[in-house]
């Protein structure tokens, strides 16, 4: 069966709720009959089977994550979502001070099996419905972070996240959902996968090589992973062989996989849709430098959004998001110089 990410997540959530009665969903507009099933249709129709476990909330992000935290402490397994990742910032105390820290502060006695879902990506909505927040949470010990770029991974990682006893934050990309109907996105990239019938999982903490190559390692997640594959295809015609790694989990990073690849290629480019300052590239690049400096044939390169908020004007937005051409240029320059 071929599914898009929204459909795959919907099926995974449905199956997990059927499997374990402690699993419930909480969020805005997620189960209103005649509504959207969340901002991007992920929970569409689930209320028909699980009326008491699809909890529609007021517009209260502190309340959503506080409720998830409290319910998890009492043994439930909440899946809490926000309509746009940017709204996580309204709930930072509950996420960072409470959900991430309570187990540690309790001396390891308590567990916090919370799944948090947040759509990210710069998509024609201006600055406040756009931010890719992965780096914010990578500096927050206590939370695991996953970011699926295919429907197969979305389903497998969602299952792993729900079954994990630690808090897991899942970033999803608006242009990868494949949402349909009135919630369809323009500029969508196909991230659908053939989904097996069996109850598979994708383990948290494992990345994947999306494309094998010899000359340079490109590390990218979500939409940037797809753009990097496009760039790699463009470069193949020029005789440049790129290995593309999708970390899938951003914390804990699959450092073994990354280092193994960079040992082989000696060159690494990290691509991210968030600003360069304090970003994904800073963390991954520094890890590479710390662990295998002698293998590097070239300085680590980063392709990122500028150190500004996302602009609205379509012409500026296109400049803001790293495009496949920019990724390819960075690789070309690296190979010319080193």
């Amino acid at each position: 069966m071929r599914l898009g990410i929204a459909e795959a997540l919907r099926k995974a959530i449905h199956d997990e709720m059927a499997r374990d009665e402690n699993v419930f969903c909480i969020g805005e507009d997620i189960g209103i009959p005649g509504g959207y099933g969340g901002a991007f249709t992920v929970t569409l129709g689930l209320e028909k089977d699980f009326r008491e476990r699809i909890i529609d909330t007021p517009i209260s992000e502190i309340g959503i994550f506080g409720a998830a935290c409290g319910a998890a402490l009492m043994g439930m397994r909440p899946i809490a979502d926000v309509q746009y990742g940017d709204f996580l910032l309204c709930a930072m105390d509950q996420i960072v001070d409470q959900i991430a820290k309570i187990r540690y502060m309790s001396g390891g006695k308590l567990t916090m099996p919370v799944v948090m879902r947040a759509p990210v990506g710069v998509t024609g909505r201006g600055s406040q419905h756009a931010q890719c927040l992965e780096p914010y949470f990578m500096s927050c010990p206590g939370i695991k972070i996953v970011a699926p770029s295919t429907a197969y991974d979305a389903m497998g990682l969602l299952r792993s996240a729900v079954r994990d006893d630690d808090p897991v934050l899942m970033f999803e990309h608006k242009l990868l959902y494949g949402s349909k109907g009135i919630r369809a996105e323009s500029g969508t990239v196909d991230a659908s996968s053939e989904i097996p019938d069996e109850d598979y999982t994708v383990p948290i903490g494992r990345g994947i090589v999306r494309r094998e190559g010899e000359d340079v390692t490109i590390i990218a997640n979500l939409l940037m992973m797809h753009f990097s594959l496009t760039a790699a295809e463009m470069l193949e015609g020029e005789g440049i062989s790129c290995e593309v790694i999708d970390p899938r989990t951003l914390w804990p990073l699959d450092l073994d996989l990354i280092l193994q690849s960079v040992r082989k290629t000696g060159r690494v480019v990290i691509v991210e849709e968030s600003p360069k300052q304090g970003g994904l590239g800073a963390e991954i690049g520094m890890q590479v430098c710390e662990h295998i400096p002698d293998y590097l044939l070239a300085p680590v390169a980063r392709v990122a959004a500028p150190n500004t908020p996302a602009p609205f004007a379509p012409v500026l937005e296109k400049l803001y998001i790293p495009q496949p051409e920019r990724i390819a240029d960075t690789v070309r320059n690296m190979l010319v110089e080193y």
């Binding site: 007021p58 935290c69 319910a71 309790s106 308590l110």
Partner: protein, 332 residues
Amino acid sequence: MKHNETMKDLGKDALKGMLRRMHEIRQFEEKIRFLFLEGKMPGTVHQYIGMEACAVGVCTALEEKDVIASTHRPHGHAIARGVSMDSIMGELYGKTTGCCGGKGGSMHVGDLERGMLPAIAIVGGNLPIVMGMGLAFKIRKEPRVAVSFFGDGASNEGAFHEALNMAAVYGVPALFVCENNRYGASTSVKRVMNIEHVSDRAAAYGMRGDMADGMDVIDVYTHALDAAARARKGDGPTLLELETFRLCGHSRRDPNNYMTDEEKKYWQKRDPIPSFETLLKEGKYMTDAEIKDLREAVEMSVDKAIQFGQQSPEPDPEALYQGLYVSMEVPR
């Protein structure tokens, strides 16, 4: 006599237990104040002196399966809920015997096995969590009540608004206990609130609001019991305001110069411990000699707890990396 019927219902043992808890809190707080000033205790402390009737009155009204959540001023709630003084003291000293293994400290004492979440030290932070605990009880149809203790200051946080609104909308079995001690650190409520009572805010959520005398342990108990019973049978949450006062500083060396002498004197006269003792004597539940014995027994147990805390082992350096995740090691 005041509270005659309620005290009769509670009976001598329960009443004596309540007084004992109040003395435990008072002596615990007074002794650690000196230990702190002498530089013998690490960290910081926020003390509960004067507010003992609030924690003890509410906790006496609860059942074993109920869960409370507290604030940066949690010692009183922990003692009232039955977390052992030894394990609280161990926590204050950052020792392995602490109720959080030394990882929490003064502002995070608690033990869920004793019905108290490790305290939440962000003002207002526990209210949404308590709403969520209540939601879990409601989804599972468990006859349990979730209780949030918070101060007047927390009622000005956004978290208060979101938590109370959602608690009311879902009708969760929760009790939001506002200990209005008139000051958020050094700031008088009069400067930061344009209404007289925090409980008036309940109306904004379509929630039941109630008030009790936070210096009168039996009055607190009576109102808390009523609110807990309503929550337990599905009648939804209550915002219960307790009028109380800190007969001590906000934290550490605070001499409360922002309070007037007149105000301090007024509340000092309403100290909840002597007034409860008077009630117990008038009702012939306890004699002066019994009260003196109780005080001395408490003093011994507090001294024992201090010794326990001081003599307990320090955490192993490896503990730094332990207890964060269930299913993975901390990447180094």
